[in-house]
Amino acid sequence: MTESLESRLRERVENPFFVLGVPPAATAAEIERQGQRLLSELAAGLEGARRYTTPLGARDRTPELVRSAIAELRDPARRFVHEWWARGLTAAR
């Protein structure tokens, strides 16, 4: 059960909108552009790209996480779920 809670928590804090640092209303083109920009910055070793903000504090951002976030948001069904959570959590902040 704890593993299940941990995986749910990870899913929430690794919300693709948080990982990419884009608002929930971002268009597909904005998401792609931001994803590619982050991948280039991570490849260049820029310090600012290595962390992203979540409601539970800053987390490490990796190229794998960014690629996974882009892929998740390309799928409308997955985006629908992530967007709902991101809207709620962003509004709270």
Partner: protein
């Protein structure tokens, strides 16, 4: 079959199958340690343990007699009769008593152990009247684990409070947090007679609390500190409460820090907390509390994943707060958004999202502490309780395959066997809070009773005295659970088994 045996087999009118083979007649097994003297290989004359105990007593007498004589002689000659009554009692009684009772433990756990002098530490424990001879191997193993060293003779050790705390410490340092949480919970609810030595309460628990405090896991530190005794554990418990944002008197903390041992180790913790407190006022705390139901949900998910205490009432309050976000109007908005994203079956998608959320709330409820008040007129709460109950019953079913009596052999360490039972215990006790008696009674009769009973007996038979402490706890728990579901046969037999295990554990 004798009349007595018949009375047991026939005494299962509630649909129980024949009880496990260990129960014969009106009393429990040849069970655990009730073996015939011949079978136990009883020898005439003192055993090896008896010789060791006698040797230890002799060494104590010689060493402390010599020390006392030398103190008395030299101080007496130096004072030349100038001491008053109080000073004489202090020098002649109190100080020697302290040296005899407390000093060896202090030397072992405060000086030798932390300095890596493990042989000296074990030797000092051997000289301590607070340490039982049979605990020495476990204490030696605890010193090894506390120093992050492998313990080569672990397989030969018994399951007891020292080895349980050593295993918990090792798991805590490896960030496997569910395991130490279960061990701590079991140690906090030991049955009468299950030994939890005072030195283990002080020193082994201190190590565990310090491990949690070092990574600022104050919830775990507070949970561990509740097991402990002594000044350092009280200080660490207070720091853990303070770390968890409860009210703290800074002066009280500094006073306890001055009185506690290991001040150099705890100095950074006390200083950091005392510096952070003044800035935090009630208004700040309110401001830092999560706003919005999504954020509250996420915060609670985080707390539950970190094994912090999450009260059932808080989960139910969260569920009530969610109601406005998942009602029909909210679902209609979600459906519209699904259509905007080009998703077919927008209504089904919205319902799936709500179902996923309810599932997550049920997961939180299944993990929460406290009973769900019944009856609930609220459909959402009823759904949550039902799902939480299903999850808990599924967890019990998942824990059962590990408790296989046939798999209990010499290779399964009694402590590992005990920890497997802890997983079932945790699942069962949570299920009691939300599951209700009827489904648990059905599960008990269907699978839990015979399997667990057979497992406990196999463990006891296989490992004998090494598993006596674990067997006592498990049999006592079995008897309590049997009482909960109204299984009188199992209550009587397991009380008797617990009594026999207690005799072996002493």
């Amino acid at each position: 079959m004798s009349t007595a045996a018949m009375s047991i087999v026939n005494g299962t009118p509630k649909g129980f199958r024949t009880p496990p083979a260990v129960v014969r007649g009106e009393r429990s097994s040849p069970a655990p340690h009730a073996k015939r003297p011949g079978a136990m290989g009883v020898r005439r004359g003192p055993s090896r343990v008896g010789w060791l105990a006698a040797t230890r007593l002799l060494v104590w007498t010689v060493v402390w007699g010599t020390v006392l004589r030398n103190i008395g002689t030299s101080v007496g000659a130096w004072a030349a009769g100038s001491f008053g009554a109080v000073t004489t009692i202090l020098v002649g009684v109190v100080i020697p008593a302290w040296v005899f009772v407390v000093f060896p433990g202090w030397l072992a756990f405060r000086i030798a152990g932390p300095c890596g002098l493990r042989r000296l530490a074990v030797g000092a424990c051997w000289m301590s009247p607070l340490v039982r001879l049979r605990d020495l191997p476990s204490i030696a193993a605890w010193f090894e684990i506390a120093a992050d060293r492998p313990c080569p003779r672990w397989d030969e050790l018994p399951a007891d409070a020292w080895t349980a705390l050593a295993a918990a410490l090792q798991a805590d340092r490896r960030r496997s947090l569910a395991r130490p949480a279960r061990v701590a919970d079991a140690l906090a609810h030991l049955p009468p007679g299950a030994r939890f030595p005072w030195l283990a309460r002080v020193h082994a628990v201190e190590a565990l609390v310090l491990s949690a405090a070092a990574r600022r896991d104050w919830a775990a530190a507070a949970r561990y500190a509740r097991l402990g005794s002594g000044r350092l554990n009280r200080l660490l418990g207070l720091l853990a409460q303070a770390g968890g944002d409860s009210a703290m008197s800074r002066r009280g903390v500094w006073t306890r820090w001055l009185l506690a041992p290991m001040r150099r180790v705890t100095w950074p913790l006390v200083r950091a907390l005392s510096r952070s407190r003044p800035a935090e006022t009630d208004a700040d705390a309110t401001e830092s509390a999560p706003r919005g139901v999504h954020a509250r949900h996420l915060a609670m998910l985080g707390a539950a994943a970190r094994h912090e205490d999450v009260p059932t009432d808080a989960v139910l309050a969260l569920a009530a707060a969610w109601r406005g976000e998942i009602d029909d109007a909210a679902l209609a908005r979600l459906q519209a958004r699904a259509l905007e994203l080009g998703l077919r079956e927008g209504a089904a998608r919205a319902r799936a999202l709500r179902d996923e959320l309810v599932d997550e709330l049920a997961l939180l409820l299944a993990q929460a502490d406290g009973e769900v008040a019944r009856p609930q007129a609220d459909a959402l709460i009823e759904t949550l309780a039902a799902r939480a109950r299903d999850q808990q019953l599924a967890l019990i079913q998942q824990a059962l395959p590990a408790l296989d009596a046939d798999a209990v052999g010499p290779s399964l360490h009694p402590l590992e066997a005990w920890e497997r039972w802890l997983a079932l215990r945790a699942a069962w006790e949570r299920a009691e809070q939300t599951g209700g008696r009827a489904p648990l009674a059905a599960l008990w009769r269907g699978s839990v009773r015979d399997r667990l009973w057979g497992y406990c007996c196999a463990l006891s038979h296989q490992h004998g005295a090494r598993a006596a402490w674990a067997s006592l706890i498990m049999f006592d728990w079995l008897a309590d659970r049997a009482e909960y579901v109204g299984d009188l046969v199992a209550v009587l037999a397991n009380r008797e088994n617990a009594r026999i295990a207690l005799a072996g554990a002493r």
